[in-house]
């Protein structure tokens, strides 16, 4: 549908050849400088993190972090992958939960957001409030836990990882604000042409909302990908641990142990080192980073509403 529409970068190139106003040049270079600096502060710690994961433990302790491993060592990764089956199984769990959760959540949120964005719906504000209220008040840990475990029987069940994150009201309202920018006239004309509400939503609204869907979809996926908290609550079988929980368990145990080391009488076995923590972080973020460039293509400016109509 947007094939007929020339992509914006192309247009820019054409324009370049004609003339580039000084004001744009100023903007372009100032902007690049700023974004470049921001990017650099984001990139350097990441490089240090990767470097630290390949650095000898004692070296980190005495020299701190570096951009390049001071004393190369792959011990952290060897330790981490000593039981590779655990890690791969955890990857599997995370993939299933992230995949299923993102798909279901995106469908649920986009549909609800669309309906709530329809200004001709009389009770839309009241219903929005009904959802919004749950972000202010919730039953609290114990009550939710008892309800999910005892009444829904979700202990050691992957649904317990999916359900709590399925419906994020913040995303719902952000999505609604994206949907609200779709002109009501388009929807009206489609309805006059005889399309039912469901068809309007699926065939007209969803394609128009692509950047929003990509954004919210990415956010939901990240939430599932990064979630360890629900696993901590609801999963006690190690075979069902998602990746982040497996790693969180190791990292936080070390940290908490250090904190309570003075109170317990027991001398506890070795704690994972700095480099191991960093290696875990690398392992955990790797795959989702690979997904990001694919999502990015939906953020290219120039999808026009007019083009869809035609």
């Amino acid at each position: 549908m947007s094939a007929t529409n020339p992509a914006r970068p192309g247009r820019q190139k054409n324009r370049n050849r004609i003339k580039t106003p000084a004001s744009f040049l100023a903007f372009n270079y100032l902007g690049k400088l700023l974004v470049g600096l921001v990017a650099l502060t984001c990139l350097l710690p990441f490089i240090m993190l990767v470097s630290a994961s390949f650095t000898n433990e004692t070296y980190i302790a005495t020299h701190g972090f570096d951009l390049w491993p001071g004393e190369l060592s792959t011990k952290a990764y060897e330790t981490l992958f000593k039981n590779p089956s655990d890690i791969f199984r955890a990857y599997g769990v995370t993939l299933v939960v992230t995949g299923a959760g993102t798909l279901a959540g995106l469908m649920l949120i986009s549909m609800t957001a669309y309906v709530l964005s329809r200004k001709d719906l009389k009770y839309r504000n009241r219903i929005a409030f009904f959802f919004y209220f749950t972000t202010l008040f919730n039953g609290g840990l114990i009550s939710t836990y008892i309800f999910l475990v005892r009444y829904l029987g979700l202990k050691n069940n992957l649904l317990a990882l999916i359900l709590p994150l399925l419906f994020n009201v913040f995303y719902l309202l952000i999505m609604r604000s994206f949907m609200a920018s779709i002109p009501a006239s388009i929807i009206e004309s489609a309805k006059i042409d005889g399309a039912g509400e469901m068809r309007v939503y699926v065939q007209l609204v969803l394609p128009l909302a692509k950047p929003g869907l990509a954004t919210i979809g990415l956010f939901i996926a990240l939430d599932y990908w990064n979630d360890w908290y629900n696993a901590m609550l609801y999963i006690s079988k190690q075979a069902l641990y998602p990746l982040q929980y497996l790693l969180y368990n190791m990292i936080s145990s070390a940290q908490a142990l250090a904190r309570i080391a003075s109170q317990t009488q027991v001398a506890v076995a070795q704690l994972p080192s700095q480099s191991l923590r960093m290696a875990m972080a690398v392992v955990a973020m790797g795959p989702i980073l690979l997904v990001y460039p694919f999502v990015q293509k939906y953020f290219v400016k120039g999808i026009t509403i007019g083009a869809v109509k035609g």
Binding site: K32, V38, F65, L108, N125, Y132, G139, F178, L222
Partner: protein
Amino acid sequence: MKQRNGFLREMRRNRTLYAMLLPAVLLAVVILYIPMAGLVVAFKNYQYNLGIFDSPWAKYGGFDNFRFLFISGKGFSITLNTAFYNLFNLVTSQALSMVVAIVITEMRGRIFKRATQSVIFLPYFISWIIVGSFAYNFFNYEIGSLNNMMEALGGARVNLYGIPGAWVFIIMAFNCWKWVGYNSIIYIAAITSIDAECYEAADIDGANIWRKIAYITLPSVKPTVIVIFLLNISRILRGDFQMFFQLIGMNGQLFNATDVIDTYVFRSLISGGDVGMTAAATLYQSVLCFLIIIAVNWLVKRTEPDYALF
């Protein structure tokens, strides 16, 4: 009677739309509203063998569990601190994210665009635990990289861990850094949704880049900005526990400037605390947030009715 008819007519008229809301409503009722009954535990003297509903009421008409928040006169200052940090961090990080988003969408250079957009997203994946160890390695007096650099440049070493005021800005900077990629995606998506025809028309009129940003881009992202601000106002009294805890930890020297409700509660209940007191603290945050958001939403509704949350 008349209203009831109105209700039925509305239901009949938009029955498909309301049916589309049904899955979300059911889900919210089941996993969010039903457990809400557990809020009552904040007013109970919780007994493990009796459970939430059968436990006896707490002293002082049920309000005993709230007393630890106010007893030492800290309640007020940590509440203010929390609100201050959230507002300050919200404004700084959203402003930066928006500027970055605008620059990224408008500037030239496809590869630079894509690369920076990906890179600024990296910090989101670095968990606060790891950020915490970075911060210590960077800021500490004896071997911290910052002090090493200062010294190399001829300056004196500074013990930042003894200067509480500095941490207001350090926390702000870390917060901006961590969320710039994530937040800018929302703005990029919003800008992407702007009808390209608007820009073309502006180009034809000979508008320069600054005018285009001021008259097209900014007004178009306004709804998104307002939604994000409103959503964040509704959690203005909930501190980002992990961020504060991992950056500040148990360093009492810095608490005056950096304590938020969540860290205060955590420290106070490390031992001897109970389920009821945790619930009481959460309820206190919820009620205040509720009152604030109702007030703010009312104001928005009076001035810009289209942007109200509910």
